[in-house]
Structure formats: C-alpha cells, structure tokens
Amino acid sequence: MLVLENVHTHYGKIEALHGVSVEVNQGEIVSLIGANGAGKTTLLMTVCGSPQASSGSVFLEGRDITHAPTASIMRSGIAIVPEGRRVFSGLTVEENLHMGGFFNSKAEIRKSQDHVYELFPRLKEREQQRAGTMSGGEQQMLAIGRALMSKPRMIILDEPSLGLAPIVIQQIFEIIGQLREEGITVFLVEQNAHQALSLADRGYVLETGRIRLHDTGANLLANPDVRNAYLGG
C-alpha cells in the first residue's frame, strides 16, 4: 500500500531522516514509535510531500509519489489526521466534516457523514456546535471523522492520543481497530507506545532519523530494549 525506500529528508542542510524504509501493507495497522525529535512527524510529512524527500522514493499503491505535489497526494485515497487535531475552530462540526469531503459529490458527502456519525455518535450530538468550543477528545474524534470524509483507503494518524484522558484514548484506539475491520489501512504514529503496539500488526521504532527495530507489535512489546526505552521497564 505505502512503501518508503531509503528515504532521506532534509530541512535546509539538516538531515532529519537518514535513509528510512517503511512498508505498510493493505489492511494492516502499522505503528511507528519513537521519542521526541526522532523524526516521526517528518516521516509523515515526507509521505505527504511537504517537505519532499531529498533522495529515496515513496510509493502509494505502486505509484511513485516522491515528487508529487501535496494537494494531489492528499486526493489520491490517503488521508492524514494531523498532530494536534487542527480542526477548523470557527466552523461547526458539520462544516468541518464537509471540508473533509471537499472533492466529493454531495451524495457521497452525505453517505460518509452518516458513517462518521455512526462511528462517533458524539459528533452527531454536537453537529451545529463550533469545533473550537468542544473538548480535546471530541476535537480528536472530529479530526478523525474529517479525514474519513474523503473515503480514504489509507489513513495516517499523527499522535491521536496527544493530551487526552486515558479513557478517551481508549475510545480512540477502539475506533482505530474498527477502521481496520472496515478495510482501511492504518499508519499510526504514537508516543503512547504500549497502546500503539498492542493494537498494531507490525511496528517500527524510529530513533534519530533511523529505523532501529522492526517487528510484529507483540514482539516489540516483549522486546527488552523497547520496554526499557519506551515502556518504562
């Protein structure tokens, strides 16, 4: 589904990714964990083409998107839930969702909207409320719902648990599991290593711009190095 081959990414002269190779297969949940500054978000942004990889290649469903413009990547069946939610705070919940289906027909928007409300009944209740006035958890639900509006085949989540209460995190991760059942491929980037790895089929550990470890989620959870570094022993 998504393949990164030996990707290097630079911010000006500083190299943030030193040859990263990641593969996400159809229907999987793949987690990427790593400390602050490891390059997790850079990796995601490289997939989205902003900044573009300085060498190596990115393939989405077999198509080379390394040098494609961001807008066209984001319209080709992939959706991202950006870090820190970034809902349109002045718009209502419904309008936020409609922005998510910007390039779809009205009939499609209506269908995906009903689907999102099924996943997140809470959003239905808040349909006419301004997104900025909602709680962090609700905003995260909205951000995920908005990404789903474009009917993506693959969804990328950048730290969906950031700043949320444990019970809300639990809910969010349940929804992510549900997405897999619907056949959506999930690429999950998380600091919350325990949750992310228990849910994932496979996991990658990123350290200072390099992939350190790569294994199944369960194996990584059991790995003593990972336990020491990310799960507090």
């Binding site: 807008a71 309008e95 922005m99 474009s150």
Partner: protein, 423 residues
C-alpha cells in the same frame, strides 16, 4: 486598587496635556522672515486644563461609571434579547436589503448634486472594501498594497481612452481583468508568505505601481496625470452639453429635456450603485461556493486545509485575483467620475482607509463592510465644519470603535451550508 486608579488617572491626564498643549496651546507666528512661538490666549489654555481635569476624573471613576452605563435599561434589555430564528432573520434581511437598494435608486433625484457625488464616492469605496474583504476578511491574507489594483483599473481606462479611444463600457471589463492579472502576478511570489511578511511585500508592490505611474512620464504623464477621461454613455447617448464622440447623440436632446449638469452625476451614481450591487452579489455567491469555504479553511488552519488536499496555491491566488478584479472595477468607475487621475489618488493612505473599512466592518461580513464604508467616507465630510480637527475626530471614533466593538460593526455571521437531506 485605589492608588492604582489614581496613578492611572494621573498618567492619562498627563498624556492629554502633553498631546493637546503643543497642538492647541502654542501658535507659530510669522514675523517678517522669522517665526516666533507665542502662547495661545487664556481661553484656550483654560479649555485645555478643563479637558485634562475631565480626563482625570473620568479615569478615576471609570469603573463605577461603566457599571452604571451597563445597568441602563435599554442596554441590558438588548443584551438579554433572544436571537431571532435563522430563516426568519434571513428573510427579513433580504427584504430590508431589497428595500434599501430600491430606495437608493430613487434617492439621487431628490437631493443636492454634492450629496450624489459623495454617495458615488461611498459606492466606489464599498466596491473596494468588498473586494479587499475577500483577501483580508475571508482568506486572511493581509494586503497593504490593495490600492495598486485600484490604480491599475483607473489607469487602464485613462490610457485606453487616451490612446485607443475606448469608451467606459469597453474599458470596464478590460480594466478589471487587467487588475485581476496583476493580482495573479503578485500572488505568485507571495504564496509562501503570511502575516507581517505578506503585508510588507504587498505594501512594496503598492508603492512600486504608484512610483512607476509617477515616473513613466512618456506614457502616463507622470505627476501631471491624465485628464479628459470620457464620461460613461447610455446606449451611445452622452451627458455633456455638446456631443464629443462620433455617431453619439446627447441625452438631453434625445429625451427633449433641458440640459442639466446633474444628469451626468446621477447617471454615474446609478452606474456605481449597479456595479456595487453586482460586486456584492458576485462575492456573496463566491462565499457560498466551495472556493469560499476553501478561503475560510485556509484562514483558519493552513496545515489542516492542505491535509485535506486543498491546494494552497490555487486558493490563495483565487482570493488575490478576485479581490484585485473588483479593485480594478472600482478604479475604472473612479477614473470616469473624476475625469482626471494622477498618482496622487493612489497613495498608501487609500490602502489604509480601505483596510480600516474592512476591519471596522467586521472581517468577512459584507453588511458590516458596507456600513463601515459609508461611515468612514461620510464621517470626515460631516466633520468638515471642524476643519482641522476632523481627522482627530475620525481617529477618536476609530479608537472608540475598537474599544467597544473590537470584532467590528457587524461581525461575520457564518453562512451556513446545509445539505438537503431528503433527495
């Protein structure tokens, strides 16, 4: 708390004194070739001190006074009023607007020539402000050089009329499109900029256009400007006493009425009115279209907008181009109204005034912007009797506005996009 109040009041009074005394209390008098400084007469000095004391007392008891004001019955009644139902309100609004437009159509036949002239100017500013509202209010791109597009529209008409004998109606679309093209061209280099940086580049662009017009003497006549810009015609009928263009007839001859200079003024006003209504309607349409929502999304959160597949380039350029288009529109009308244009008319102050209108009206709100355009254009005229103090009054009005209604006269009520669920 009390000590703090006294100190605050004291400083306010001191500042009043520092600002007002040198302006009002000192006079420069020319005696021969030397200039001497003399104090003003006693009554002025007394007035200044009374003002200082008033400021001091007001600042001292401000909180108590403001509490009293808030408790006034008509103010508190308004605060507790329930908002009207959305659809009912929209209906009333559309009726009221239709009524005002119809009234505005007949109004010039009953008032003085000067009033109609001023109203035309107001309408030109309304068009300008509505255009800038797209760029600043909706797309959130701070543009300080907006007057450049206005100049492009005006000069396009003036030059085409001078060198190619274009009439107003032919020049109107050309001027607007050329301004739009300039908007597009400016848009490209500033795509990556936002906020303050964007403001500075656009400011520079505005100055470049003005300086170019000022110095390209062979084409634009430089500071001398271009005169003899033709008036608009009505189906080949001219409004002057004598017919200038070939094959044209004059308005008063055709209808067999006596010649009057007022016909032309009223006609110009009506053109401006129709174009202003057209501008408002087109932009309203845009706001409801996907592109309008894209502008807002980009203003609210650029990263999120891009993550949804919106192209930053397309969205920003469309805002710039459409804004510039309407500036060119009003520029053409302005050139026709004045009959003479020079770079003097397109200084930075104009950009600032239009921006002030947009901010005062409430960013993004069309009705607010229209009201603000009326207020900002007419207020200095009303205050003309106070001659040199009118800019002071204007400034004071602006400061008061920002204190009481920082969100603008009529903050934008978001147009609600609803999908028809039964289909």
């Amino acid at each position: 708390m009390a000590a703090n109040n006294v100190r605050h009041a004291f400083f306010s009074a001191l500042i009043t004194l520092i600002i007002s005394y040198p302006i009002l209390g000192l006079n420069l008098e020319a005696q021969g070739i030397s200039v001497t400084l003399t104090g003003a007469d006693t009554s002025t000095v007394i007035a200044i001190f009374i003002a200082v004391i008033v400021v001091f007392v007001f600042q001292l008891f401000r909180e108590r006074l403001m509490d009293r004001v808030r408790e006034l019955p008509f103010l508190s009644a308004r605060a507790h009023k329930e908002p009207m139902a959305e659809n009912k309100r929209a209906k009333i609004e559309s009726w009221v607007i239709t009524g005002i437009v119809v009234l505005a159509l007949f109004w010039p036949f009953f008032v003085s020539r000067g009033a109609v002239d001023l109203a035309t100017l107001v309408l030109i500013y309304i068009m300008l402000a509505l255009g800038l509202n797209v760029v600043v209010g909706l797309a959130g791109l701070l543009d300080l050089g907006y007057v450049a597009f206005y100049a492009v529209g005006a000069y396009t008409f003036a030059l085409l009329a001078q060198y190619a004998d274009f009439s107003f109606w032919m020049a109107l679309p050309v001027g607007a499109c050329l301004a739009a093209l300039f908007g597009l061209v400016l848009g490209f280099p500033v795509l990556r900029l936002r906020g303050d940086y964007l403001a500075i580049v656009t400011l520079g662009f505005g100055e470049i256009i003005r300086i170019l017009l000022n110095n390209w003497t062979t084409l634009t006549g430089g500071p001398n400007g271009i005169g003899g810009i033709p008036d608009p015609t009505l189906f080949g009928m001219e409004f002057g006493r004598r017919v200038k263009g070939e094959g044209n007839t004059s308005f008063h001859d055709t209808f067999g009425i006596a010649y009057s200079g007022e016909h032309k003024v009223i006609f110009l006003y009506l053109i401006a009115l129709v174009l202003a209504v057209f501008t408002a309607m087109v932009i309203r349409r845009f706001m409801r279209m996907p592109v309008g929502r894209a502008w807002e999304a980009l203003r609210e959160d650029e990263i999120a907008a891009r993550s949804l597949g919106l192209s930053r380039t397309a969205v920003k350029l469309s805002a710039f181009t459409i804004g510039a288009f309407f500036a060119g529109f009003s520029g053409t009308v302005f050139a026709s109204k004045q009959g003479f244009i020079s770079p003097e008319s397109f200084v930075f102050l104009e950009s600032a005034i239009v921006l002030a209108i947009v901010v005062l009206g409430g960013m993004g709100s069309q009705i607010g912007v229209i009201l603000a355009a009326i207020a900002v254009t007419i207020l200095p005229e009303l205050a003309r009797e106070f001659s040199e103090y009118r800019m002071l009054i204007f400034g004071a009005a602006m400061v008061l506005m920002m204190v009481w209604r920082p969100q603008g006269l009529m903050p934008m009520r978001r147009i609600h996009i609803e999908l028809n669920r039964q289909e």
